[in-house]
């Protein structure tokens, strides 16, 4: 356990370290922010590193094995309808716990002075991912090539963007980019694997690819729809 934690924290130090270095160089050259802001940044960085280490470790002993167990439980006794329903539900539930989704929504809530609220944004993104996991599973059953779903998905996005409130357009595309993170990806992959077992021989290895790509279309569509409603 300790060696695992050590390796994780090294990995995270390598990820965050360069940012601290760049901010420090900027602080002493062109930016010169108030020292209080800089100190808070340093303390915040330590919290970010500690937080990421604990989070990733917690995922490895908690949520990831849980995803695998649910995936294989489905492969034993799941019916197709049940798996579709669970795909939606779990897609929603893991997305709203994704840190990047929460951070993006806070940005949007803050910048729009609460016009585009945090909670409704997080929920829309979650529904979007859930819906498209369901569609991704259906695609595997009906054996539709992934490229067609991608094209229809992006065409829908194009059409919706004409009718949506312009403020929601950049937000929706960013929402599509933040859904794939450390919480969602392993969970969705484990679920996909379980689903492939339920289908048995009908499924091919390449089916497990493409699930994540489809999952990022959903939130773009749901957030744009939100923009049509709040036009």
């Amino acid at each position: 356990m300790l060696s695992r934690l050590k390796k994780l924290s090294q990995e995270i130090l390598v990820t965050i370290g360069p940012i601290i270095l760049i901010v420090t160089i900027l602080q002493f050259s062109i930016i010169k922010m108030p020292w209080m802001v800089y100190y808070k940044f340093l303390i915040g960085s330590v919290m970010v590193m500690a937080g990421l280490t604990i989070l990733l470790y917690g995922l490895r002993i908690g949520l990831i094995p849980m995803g695998e167990m649910i995936g294989s439980a489905l492969s034993n006794k799941g019916s197709v309808t049940l798996v579709l329903f669970l795909g939606f539900l779990i897609g929603f539930a893991v997305t709203i716990a994704e840190p990047d989704v929460i951070v993006l929504s806070s940005h949007v809530d803050f910048v729009s002075n609460g016009d585009i609220g945090k909670l409704i944004l997080v929920i829309s993104i979650g529904i979007g991912v859930g819906l498209f996991i369901l569609i991704a599973f259906l695609r595997i059953i009906l054996r539709i090539p992934i490229i067609y779903i991608l094209i229809v998905g992006y065409l829908t996005i194009l059409v919706l963007s004409f009718f949506s409130n312009p403020n929601y357009i950049p937000v929706s595309f960013d929402a599509g980019g933040v859904t794939t993170g450390p919480v969602t990806v392993p969970f969705i992959l484990a679920l996909g694997l379980g689903f492939a077992f339920v289908l048995g021989s009908k499924s091919k290895t390449s089916d497990s690819f493409g699930l994540i790509g489809l999952a990022s279309i959903g939130p773009i569509i749901t957030v744009l729809i939100l923009g049509v409603i709040y036009r």
């Binding site: 970010v48 937080g51 470790y57 490895r60 893991v94 991608l150 963007s161 493409g210 990022s216």
Partner: protein, 246 residues
């Protein structure tokens, strides 16, 4: 110290993360009772995992809230207000490159492509190309904020290129490519780099903060898609047709 630790913010974060984790926790409990029926020790282990996930999320998000977001915005505001706002573009390039080359998820993707192409596309080649691609994407996103370019003018040609390449590259590489969109948008992109562009858009009076501040994540997500597809096409043209077999 009082400026660093704001109890009210911290408490609302504690509650918020509790809400965020509640649904997946409920799903687990339902599965445990009706399907999984794990023995006590493994059940407790997963509970421990949930608790650590909770603590980790709270620490991470609080650190982002007091550190990364305000500093990113501050940097964006200072450079955006200066006459040399173009400096945002090279800074974006540098940040994009560094954030990508150190991202563990990117390495996993590169190893995967190396494997699928039976070593024809080297992991290192892919890693450097992808990092330069993301760097260019972040620079482009900063240019979008600085010059007020509409996001649509970047995304529509971007996705058109991606789709044309996807048809040439075939289904296997197309799937890997569209899956890889998210790998370059790691935890630093949204928390730090996006904050810079939001800060810059806030300070420039002629720019709308939402319209010109956001969109960076989606431009960054395009870079790995195009990179994987280009490598897939090169592989099939020069390395054989293994990629089409699946």
């Amino acid at each position: 110290m009082s400026e660093i630790f704001i109890a009210e913010d911290f408490l609302s974060l504690l509650l918020e993360i509790l809400q965020a984790l509640a649904p997946i926790f409920v799903i687990f409990i339902i599965f445990q009772i009706f399907v999984l029926k794990l023995p006590k020790s493994s059940f407790l282990n997963i509970l421990k995992g949930f608790l650590l996930t909770y603590i980790g999320l709270v620490l991470f998000l609080y650190g982002v809230q007091i550190g990364f977001m305000p500093v990113g915005k501050y940097i964006g505001e200072v450079i955006g207000a200066s006459p040399h706002r173009w400096i945002l573009i090279p800074i974006g390039f540098l940040l994009g490159f560094i954030v990508t080359i150190v991202e563990p998820a990117v390495r996993i993707l590169c190893a995967q492509v190396d494997q699928v192409s039976s070593g024809f596309i080297k992991e290192k080649t892919m890693l450097y190309t992808l990092s330069i691609g993301v760097a260019a994407a972040v620079a482009l996103a900063m240019a979008k904020t600085v010059f007020g370019i509409s996001l649509i003018y970047i995304l529509i040609p971007g996705y058109l290129i991606a789709f044309i390449l996807a048809f040439i590259a075939g289904p296997l590489f197309a799937s890997i490519a569209f899956d890889s969109g998210g790998v370059a948008t790691g935890p630093m992109t949204v928390t730090f780099i996006l904050s810079i562009s939001i800060g810059a858009a806030t300070i420039m009076e002629e720019r709308d903060t939402i319209l010109h501040g956001f969109g960076l994540v989606s431009i960054v997500a395009l870079a790995p898609i195009i990179a994987v597809l280009v490598f897939g096409i090169i592989y099939q043209k020069k390395g054989g047709n293994l990629g089409r077999r699946n």
